[in-house]
Amino acid sequence: MNRSEVEDFLYHEAELLDEWQTEAWAALYTEDSLYEVTSPACADPTKADARNTLFLISDRIERIRGRANRLTKKTAHAEYPRSKTRHLITNVRVTGDEGEETKARANFAVYRTKEDTSTVYMGEAFFTLVQTAEGVRIRHKRCILDLNSLYNQGRLTIIL
């Protein structure tokens, strides 16, 4: 994939999230996928492995679907009433292209407004995208936040 194809795809992902179509979002992930958000306290977030370091999120496909499904419920109290979000994706770079697979990086800023409080989650996301018969799918997404803690944000109950 070239950069504009990657951009189109990431904008589509962002649009689904901002519209709270979380289950459609989860359908963008492959059966062997992994969605991760490292902890702001992580010493080396690009190399870190959730198998031996505490992350904020490390979801394989069952939990990606579980997360998406949970967020559709009124009993997901942390997101009820639902917050408003806006995902901004910029500085997209294609960093590798091998057969079906494309690796890309992008900067992001996600704004969340809950009640009258707005906060921002900013950082860089690393993607492995794959071309399938059904279209482009995400095999791996790792978000690295430019934060030292979630002191201002409190929690991370939206999808980045």
């Binding site: 958000v37 902890s39 702001p40 306290a41 992580c42 010493a43 870190a48 959730a50 198998r51 031996n52 370091t53 505490l54 992350f55 904020l56 999120i57 490390s58 069952e62 939990r63 579980g66 997360r67 499904n69 949970r70 419920k73 009993t75 997901a76 109290h77 942390a78 009820y80 030292n148 803690s149 979630l150 002191y151 201002n152 944000q153 409190g154 929690r155 991370l156 109950t157």
Partner: protein, 444 residues
């Protein structure tokens, strides 16, 4: 009439055993003035958790932490001794350590260049002239050590009252719970890599109450149990959830352990990496977990082994340390910033001798439920924030914490079923007696 008419301090906790009534005045959560008194009496007199021994692996390793509103450097000095210094230069106040953690032989104050050793001694004033000979003979210019620093099985606590009773006595029945945790392994329990740090807009006591509250489980965590059911559908574990949860209110216990500490023992079918294997954990870890159970039996006997392996334990050590030994182990410290804002830091703990696979499972369990992005904790946090908000903005005087009250003689050692509130009654009884100086926690 004001929104909240302030009450007298001796009337904040009202226990009437004959009526089975235990009430806490909401000023205890919403009053800035009460919080000022707590800073002096609760955080100035109780033992407060600083950190775990295994966070200081090498000589010179340090963490700078705020504990009960005071900035400290938690360090293993170059001789290997653990210390806690106040993080302020004895010259004109600057912070001598601006990093969250690291390794250091010395701390050089960035302002005028005074140098302090890892033991805290002043080694240079960065000046050729002007100071009288022997100005630091009495050591008053060394980094100030905290008044008291003691440990129990690797858990280091500080106390800002030099006359405080020992940590050992203070922990009382909580020692047995710490033993149960540290005895998980023949090896060593260690703080694992990484941490969660986040904030909550709520009073610190609301999070303590929530941490061992069996009563809230079903309403607050319904979506988590839905998720567990979905995960187990069509597997041998299907049906286990509803079977175990059906006896939730009768199978475990909430137990007060003295000095305001208490534990909730319960049974929730998540599986426990310590030594309780369930099909949902995958065949890969079965043999190792069973071997770990055998080791518990060998070392501690059948009854204790079963307790350690199968019971989910939510422990609160008064006033602000939570140790949850549930589907994973978390050590969580609650640092109050005001009457309505807290900073939470949480770590994962696990044995140093477990396989990579079991370690991965333990951490995966952790993030599935716990932490600011899990499927459990954020829903708890939302509850605390709506409690605080509503207490702040309504005139209602009392919170009713009566469930199970009046059966036992001394609330500090009461016991009840998991969905009772005896653990909170113990907490508030202790809180009340410390706030009213009935219990000074001092050596006579």
């Amino acid at each position: 009439m004001a929104l909240h008419d302030p009450v007298r301090e001796e009337e904040l906790v009202k226990a009437e055993p004959a009526k089975g009534s235990f009430r806490v005045h909401r000023d205890a959560y919403r009053s800035a003035e009460v919080f000022q008194r707590e800073k002096e009496l609760i955080f100035g007199k109780c033992w407060l958790y600083l950190g775990h021994d295994t966070e200081l692996q090498k000589k010179g390793d340090f963490h700078s932490r705020r504990v009960g509103g005071r900035d400290l450097i938690f360090i293993r000095d170059k001789k290997g001794e653990v210390r806690a210094h106040y993080n302020s230069c004895t010259h004109r106040a600057a912070k001598v350590c601006r990093e969250r953690s690291g390794n250091a032989r010395n701390f050089t104050c960035p302002y005028h260049g005074w140098v302090f050793s890892s033991e805290g001694g002043l080694v240079s004033q960065n000046a050729q002239t002007g100071y009288a000979e022997g100005i630091n003979e009495d050591g008053h210019l060394d980094l100030r050590p905290v008044e008291r620093l003691e440990e129990y099985r690797g858990f280091w606590f500080v106390n800002y009252n030099p006359n405080a009773i020992s940590l050992y006595d203070y922990l009382d029945g909580a020692r047995d719970q710490i033993d149960a945790l540290m005895d998980h392994t023949e090896g060593k329990q260690i703080i694992l890599s990484g941490e969660h740090t986040y904030s909550i807009r709520a009073n610190y006591k609301l999070l303590c109450e929530n941490s061992y509250d069996g009563y809230h489980l079903f309403p607050v965590h319904a979506s988590y149990f839905d998720y567990l059911r979905d995960q187990l559908a069509g597997t041998p574990g299907e049906g286990l959830i509803d079977k175990t949860l059906a006896s939730y209110n009768t199978a475990g216990a909430a137990r007060a352990l003295g000095n305001g500490h208490a534990v909730l023992d319960s049974f929730v079918p998540t599986g426990r990496p310590v030594a309780q294997w369930l099909p949902s954990m995958g065949m890969g870890t079965k043999a190792e977990i069973e071997a770990r159970y055998d080791s518990l039996v060998r070392r501690l006997g059948e009854e204790r082994a079963k307790y350690i392996a199968e019971t989910q334990k939510n422990l609160v050590i008064f006033p602000n340390l939570v140790i949850n030994d549930i589907l994973s182990v978390t050590v969580r410290v609650i640092e109050p910033e005001s009457h309505e804002k807290i900073r939470v830091t949480a770590w994962a703990m696990g044995p140093d001798d477990e396989s990579e696979e079991l370690r991965a499972l333990r951490l995966d369990n952790f993030v599935s439920f716990l932490g600011p992005a899990g499927f459990g904790s954020p829903d708890d946090i939302e509850m605390l924030e709506i409690c605080q908000d509503a207490a702040d903005h309504t005139p209602i005087e009392w919170s009713e914490i009566s469930k199970g009250f009046g059966r036992a003689g001394d609330p500090l050692y009461a016991e009840g079923p998991p969905d009772d509130e005896v653990q909170m009654q113990a907490y508030w009884t202790m809180w009340d007696s410390v706030m009213r100086r009935i219990n000074t926690l001092e050596v006579k």
